[in-house]
Amino acid sequence: MKVSVDPDKCQGHGRCMMYDTEIFECDDLGYAHIRGDGTVPEADREEVWFASLNCPEQAITVDESA
């Protein structure tokens, strides 16, 4: 499973950061990006899904097949 953040859509609401700071982090202006290459460890799956489903800008994409 892989996750990505579209930097053109992210407006820095920070809701992903409320779910999983192992996967998501933000820059100095508050915009989110992924730590590492986006591979989601088994333990983070649920939090990453919730981050995606709660993003107001629909900026987070989860790829279950990757």
Binding site: Q11, H13, G14, M18, F50, L53, N54, C55, P56, Q58
Partner: protein, 193 residues
């Protein structure tokens, strides 16, 4: 803010005053309207209140649901180009009232949209707006709401609305209950006296 620079530009003169006024106003009645809505809800929904007392870890999730349901802010935007919306064309340069609260009750996005589900886990609400002008203070607003509810429930877990008739609402671009008088339930009041 007096000393900050973005891309070499500094805020000066009336621009600085305008931004400070905006921060002051945008950070006050918005948050207290959200908080008074939350208090009104908790005063009138003992099952939700008791669940948060028993499970304080649920409070951040509850804050999102209360923001969705009681979205306090409606804002105006000006179109920068012609916008086609359904059968209507909104020309460039028009003022448009954006009702985030209505979007937050969209039944296609939120199952049981007209119900407060205190542990709603999928909650892509836009109480703080969306796009490049989303609320700049959303993170501190969330923190204030979470801390206020946590601390209140930690000290006063049992309370109820005194007189429903006394609740009055502020209206306009910022909406919410202006007065929420709460009292200890009769059983708690008797035990304390």
């Amino acid at each position: 803010m007096m000393n900050s620079e973005v891309d070499g530009d500094r805020l000066e003169g009336y621009d600085l005053i305008a931004v400070l006024m905006l921060v002051l106003i945008a950070g006050l009645d918005t948050t207290w309207n959200a908080l008074s809505s939350a208090m009104l809800h908790l005063a009138t929904h003992p099952e939700d209140r008791r669940r948060l007392v028993a499970e304080p870890a649920l409070i951040p999730t509850a804050v999102e649901e209360l923001l969705r349901f009681y979205a306090p802010v409606v804002l105006t935007r000006e179109t920068t180009k012609d916008v086609q919306l359904g059968d209507t064309t909104i020309p460039a340069g028009e003022l448009v009232l954006l009702n985030w609260a209505a979007a937050n009750r969209d039944p296609e996005m939120f199952p049981d949209a007209d119900k407060v589900i205190i542990d709603r886990a999928e909650n892509r609400h836009i109480a703080f707006g969306t796009g490049i002008h989303r609320c700049l203070g959303s993170s501190i607003a969330r923190l204030e709401l979470k801390i206020a509810i946590e601390e209140w429930l930690g000290v006063i877990p049992e309370f109820e609305l005194d007189d429903p008739e006394s609740v009055t609402y502020s209206t306009g671009h910022i909406w919410g209950p202006r007065v929420v008088d709460v009292v200890y339930p009769a059983t708690v009041a008797a035990a304390r006296s």
